[in-house]
């Protein structure tokens, strides 16, 4: 076959021009079309799956070298940080954020999800990234709830009830991976709308649709459903895997969500993770209102009780609702009996940082301004900025408040995990 013959060639002639690389890329597409259905040889599959040529790039002199992923990641991180701080408002303007989110993820399992332009298939990539996203989401939003909905065969199906435990969601998702039929945006929205309209008014209702399909087969007028979602204050966002679809764009514009299309798997991951931090609060909810919450005690070991969520007897663990004394398995949740929101104090504390984010650090040129002496070590990890053996000095940043210098790894750690600047904190202590 044509495809197989060509596919073998590149291994012998590795250093080609970019045009040749592109052509090879296209040839691979052909090969993959041929391969569908008849099964591939092991060596071929390894070649096709790993796509090792994508890790190479050409430098100025035309030599191939592996892509420097580290600097790329750093650059991306800086870009994202600046973008977030510019859209989310600066520290000074203190934007209110919706911390209690009721979040439905709609996963498209229509026929289009079996396409293999993402490796190994769109569906597998979506599932993998959704899993990572759910973990990240709960890490950042401990007070929030997630539910899963799938679209296939023109129907929408609720995979999991909205809940606060990442493990249950992931388990349910991984068990249900097969795709067929059409996607129906309207059915999915109607279903989600039905569930989300019951939640308490302080919660932020959000839907994230991971859409592979380019068409939606709807039983009625989808525009009406979009308007209903808008009226119900459901913020709908869509991440597309292949191209921009008008109705999705319309949906997002109407309901105040974001619409993005992924270029490749890493970009998809990036886009997905952008949904993890809480969005600015909708104006209607911005008026501060008090929410009654319970902080349940952890049940003593060895006590047998019937849990209200699974309706079965359990030994030890669990939490007891402070109002009606019923047992629940996990936090945060809503008490089944009295409807009280149950959280633990660390959950509240962890949500706090979204309201007071650490300001993005300024980038500092490696040589500094003339006449200014730069410290040679990072304030955070005490590692030397100057690399071993006179290598290129790595990127460094400085906090605009305390003017301490940090290496990029500490910068990432401070902004992504710590949410406090060590420089500012130590200053604070010394002044007191």
């Amino acid at each position: 076959m044509y495809g197989a013959g060509v596919a073998f060639q590149p291994t012998s002639s590795a250093g080609g021009s970019s045009k040749e690389k592109k052509r090879r890329d296209e040839d691979d597409e052909e090969e993959e079309d041929d391969n569908e259905g008849k099964g591939t040889d092991a060596w071929e599959r390894a070649y096709a799956d790993e796509r090792s040529w994508e890790d190479l790039q050409e430098d100025e002199s035309g030599l191939l070298r592996p892509i420097d992923t580290k600097t790329l990641v750093h650059a991306q991180y800086r870009k994202r940080l600046l973008l977030r701080s510019s859209t989310g408002g600066s520290v000074a303007s203190r934007i209110q954020k919706g911390l209690i989110r009721y979040f439905y993820i709609v996963i498209d399992l229509s026929r289009a999800a079996s396409e293999t332009d993402y490796r190994p298939s769109r569906m597998a990539v979506v599932a993998k990234q959704a899993e990572a996203f759910i973990r990240e989401f709960f890490d950042q939003n401990p007070l929030s709830h997630v539910g899963l909905v799938t679209m296939k065969d023109g129907l929408a199906h609720r995979l999991t009830e909205i809940g606060g435990s990442p493990e249950a969601q992931i388990k349910a998702l991984m068990g249900k991976l097969e795709c067929c039929g059409e996607a129906s945006l309207q059915n999915a929205l109607e279903l989600v709308h039905g569930y989300l309209s019951q939640i308490p008014s302080y919660g932020h209702r959000e839907v994230l649709i991971l859409s592979s399909a380019l068409t939606t087969c709807d039983p009625g007028d989808v525009m009406e459903t979009v308007q209903r979602c808008k009226r119900a204050k459901i913020r709908c966002s869509v991440i597309g895997l292949s191209a921009e679809v008008f109705i999705c764009k319309h949906l997002c514009e109407e309901t105040g969500g974001t619409y993005t299309v992924a270029l490749n798997e890493s970009h998809f991951k990036e886009l997905l993770l952008e949904h993890a931090p809480p969005p600015p609060a909708i104006a209607e909810y911005a008026a501060a209102n008090l929410i009654k919450m319970g902080f349940p005690q952890r049940g003593a070991e060895g006590v047998v009780s019937i849990c209200s969520c699974h309706k079965e007897a359990k030994v030890g663990g669990g939490y007891t609702c402070p109002r009606c004394k019923v047992r629940v398995c996990e936090l945060p949740t809503e008490c089944r009996t009295c409807g009280l929101t149950l959280v633990s104090s660390p959950h509240l504390a962890r949500s706090y940082h979204h309201l007071f984010p650490v300001a993005p650090f300024d980038e500092v040129s490696p040589h500094g301004r003339p006449g200014q002496r730069l410290p040679t070590t990072c304030f955070g990890c005490q590692q030397s900025f100057v690399g071993q053996g006179g290598a290129q000095p790595s990127l460094r940043t400085s906090c605009p408040k305390c003017n301490q210098f940090f290496c990029i790894d500490c910068d990432i750690y401070i902004h992504e995990s710590l949410h406090n600047c060590p420089g500012c904190e130590s200053q604070h202590n010394s002044s007191v």
């Binding site: 890329d25 052909e30 380019l214 679809v245 992924a262």
Partner: protein, 755 residues
């Protein structure tokens, strides 16, 4: 904003401007300064109309309104769009300027009288209007109030008769809708008001016909002075409009209708003889005096003018043997009889006008001079007979049209009689066509009369061919490209199917099942990869029917329908409109749709598939004209002999401008994006490709010239992903595509420095 273009202050209605618009204005200004004609190609979506209007209006303010702008559009829709643009501009002009701009259209679009408007076609609206407003009807109504007249016209007439120069319309910009509502509120007839006011207007927006068709032009545009600037927008088909203006076709129904008309007229004459013989005698006397018309006609009586060009009309008395009404009718009867006998032919006949006139002379005994006067004589007779239902007399008018044209022109025309349609030889449908081959004939008076004629469109490539076709010498002819912040158009030439076999609609290949299947596979792959709307253009209706049938049998169509709904353009306008409506709906609600359409059809010419309504357009094949058509063959021969344009060159030029027009439907603004696939191996040849407009060619990479289906699919996927990313609209640095006032200042200073 205000900007300086070579010393002229130009008022521009937007806050920022594209660099190519500045370029465009500069060239336009040079053409106006030189007082010559210009040919300017600029892609759609770059604000051609805004640039044109701003510059010309600013120029005329500069010259203190010494000249008018006559802006010709193809459709009423475009007319409205132009006027809307103009209104925006008017609000940005300095305050003391009093700009009067209005659109002029037929009575059907302007009338506000509910009785008249209830008529269906344009002709019947005209006739209904005449029935109420003709001078004899009004004089009759003067004596007898029972006779119905049009209240709008009466009150307009009262207002207008207050003085010839009373400005009835305050300065401003009037669209057709504005004119109608103004007319309604004042109780004046908007149509005649507009006709009257174009004399005083600074900008008149109307249709091509008002300048190019001599029948209409002599009535409407006679009074326009030489200093006018004439703009033909979307003028890529201007040669065809010119040719149509001077072509007549006569069918069997026409002749039967003409016979009926003649009978009716002779009855009318008999009746008149019995009741009011004086009127006939008066007409006779007038004709003896050499006046075809009776003095100055009332505005309402003015009818379609002579079909021949003003310079070619004889300024003589009507020949003696047709002065008497009965004699003239018998001449016409003989003519109709002769034409009927010619239609009975079994084989195709082609003749030149000289031979044809000689044949009429010998067979029917009508000499050339009588023929020449046919039209004027008929006009005079109908006025004498006070016929108001002109729509019923269209047939005899067509015959007289034909007679006058065929006897006036010896060159550039030919008469072709076909007993049946070439494609359906079993159905007899005889037609006699007088076809004009020379586009320069109709437009020549326009070029001669007006100082500056601007011809502009999105597709005028190759730009050197138009001056030859229209026989004029432009002082400026330029093609502009689009400045883009991102590569938002992606043209591709697809030469092979996924099995590497070539695809083409060449005559010997088009019915090959392999080619049909490859085209089907292409569509199938694309519907799965492209969101929302896809438009497909085929070379002809018959080819579309054939290939869609084959796809249906192969099961390809069913597979396509799993991804997108399929809509088809038909020759029925209502059906096509419905299909388009539903197509748009399907694109809106996310179901996705494919529209099958035909190059040179209504859809290809006038419907935009912008944004999600057209993310991809596939041009199946090269849309050559039907090369066996007699008219085309005759025209090609004429072009070769007169203008030294080779047949092949003209055919390719014509096919490629149609193709460019088709694919240009998807991109109507810079924020838009779309792909274009030219699916035929012949597009990869240089002689074809080089005739595409520059703005398509500049985006056609070498790597995209010889693609197979799977390669095209890969490119399409990458392109769609790239285009879906957010982007910066203004561009940055040297690639700046949106200029503010300061930028333009800087640019002009920079240009000064380099000189």
């Amino acid at each position: 904003m205000k900007l300086e273009v070579e010393g002229l202050t130009v008022y521009f209605p937007y806050e920022s401007i594209y660099p190519e618009q500045v370029e465009y204005m500069r060239e336009l200004k040079r053409a106006l300064d030189a007082g010559g004609h210009a040919l300017l190609e600029m892609p759609t979506g770059t604000g051609k109309t805004a640039a044109l209007l701003s510059l010309i209006v600013s120029y005329s303010i500069h010259k203190s309104f010494k000249f008018k702008l006559l802006y010709c559009t193809r459709t009423v829709h475009e007319m409205e769009k132009t006027l809307a643009e103009l209104r925006l501009l008017a609000s940005h002009l300095p305050t003391p300027t009093s700009l009067l701009a209005l659109g002029l259209s037929s009575r059907k679009n302007l009338c506000v009288n509910p009785h008249v408007l209830s008529a269906q076609s344009r002709d019947s609206v005209d006739a209904a209007c005449r029935r109420l407003t003709a001078s004899w009807v009004r004089s009759l109504a003067h004596d007898n109030p029972q006779v119905p007249t049009c209240p709008f016209f009466e009150s307009y007439d009262r207002a207008a008769s207050a003085g010839p120069d009373t400005l009835l319309l305050p300065p401003g910009v009037y669209t057709l809708g504005d004119l109608r509502s103004f007319g309604r509120s004042k109780g004046w007839c908007p149509y005649f008001l507009a006709r009257q006011m174009i004399r005083y207007a600074n900008v008149v927006v109307y249709s091509y016909q008002y300048l190019l068709d001599p029948k209409v032009a002599t009535i409407i545009s006679k009074e326009m002075q030489k200093e006018c600037v004439v703009v033909f927008d979307e003028a890529h088909n201007i040669d065809n409009v010119c040719i149509e203006a001077l072509s007549v076709s006569i069918r069997k129904q026409t002749l039967e209708g003409a016979t009926r008309n003649l009978t009716q007229m002779s009855q009318e004459i008999e009746r008149l003889k019995a009741t009011d013989a004086g009127r006939l005698r008066a007409e006779y006397n007038r004709l003896v005096d050499g006046l075809a018309q009776r003095g100055n006609l009332a505005i309402t009586d003015a009818w379609l003018g002579n079909p021949a060009l003003p310079d070619d009309i004889l300024k003589e008395a009507v020949p003696g043997n047709i002065r008497r009404a009965e004699h003239f009718l018998s001449v016409l009867r003989r003519l109709v009889q002769y034409l009927k006998s010619r239609l009975l032919t079994e084989k195709v006949e082609t003749e030149n006008p000289v031979n044809f006139c000689a044949a009429i002379n010998s067979q029917a005994g009508i000499d050339q001079k009588m023929l020449k006067f046919c039209y004027d004589r008929l006009h005079s007779l109908m006025l004498t007979l006070e016929i108001t239902n002109t729509d019923e007399f269209m047939h005899i008018q067509t015959v007289c049209d034909f007679a006058t044209l065929v006897s006036t022109y010896a060159r550039g025309f030919s008469i072709i009689i076909e007993p049946y349609d070439e494609r359906m030889p079993t159905i007899p449908d005889p037609v006699l066509q007088l076809s004009c081959h020379d586009a320069s004939l109709a437009i020549k008076p326009v070029f001669d009369r007006f100082q500056s004629v601007i011809i502009t469109s999105g597709t005028l490539s190759p730009i050197d061919l138009y001056p030859r076709l229209l026989n004029f010498s432009p002082v400026i002819s330029r093609s502009f490209t689009m400045s883009l912040t991102r590569d938002c158009i992606c043209p591709m030439v697809l030469t092979r199917g996924s099995d590497q076999l070539p695809v083409s609609t060449k005559f010997d290949m088009r019915s090959d099942p392999g080619v049909v299947r490859n085209y089907g596979r292409l569509l199938l792959e694309m519907v799965a990869a492209v969101p929302d709307g896809i438009v497909c253009f085929f070379v002809s209706y018959s080819y579309m029917d054939g290939i869609v049938n084959s796809w249906n049998e192969m099961g390809i169509l069913q597979d396509v329908m799993q991804h997108k709904l399929v809509f088809i353009e038909t020759q029925d306008v209502v059906e096509t409109t419905l299909a388009l409506d539903n197509y748009r709906k399907a694109c809106d609600c996310g179901r996705g749709a494919v529209f099958f359409s035909v190059a040179r059809g209504k859809v290809a010419e006038g419907i935009d598939f912008d944004r999600h309504y057209g993310r991809l357009v596939i041009m199946f094949g090269v849309p050559f004209q039907y090369t066996l058509s007699r008219i085309l063959l005759a025209r090609l021969e004429y072009l070769r002999e007169t203008f030294q344009i080779k047949e092949g060159d003209f055919l390719t030029f014509d096919a490629l401008r149609q193709a460019a027009q088709c694919v240009g439907r998807v991109i109507r603004s810079k924020a838009d994006y779309g792909m274009m696939i030219f699916a035929d191996k012949r597009y990869s040849r240089h002689d074809k490709r080089s005739k595409l407009p520059g703005w398509i060619l500049s985006h056609l990479h070498d790597a995209h010239l010889n693609l197979s289906t799977d390669m095209a699919l890969h490119i399409a996927r990458e392109f769609l992903r790239r285009m879906a990313q957010p982007y910066d609209k203004t561009g940055c640095g040297s690639k700046k595509t949106l200029l503010s006032e300061e930028d333009v200042m800087k640019m002009s200073e920079g240009a000064m420095d380099t000189y």
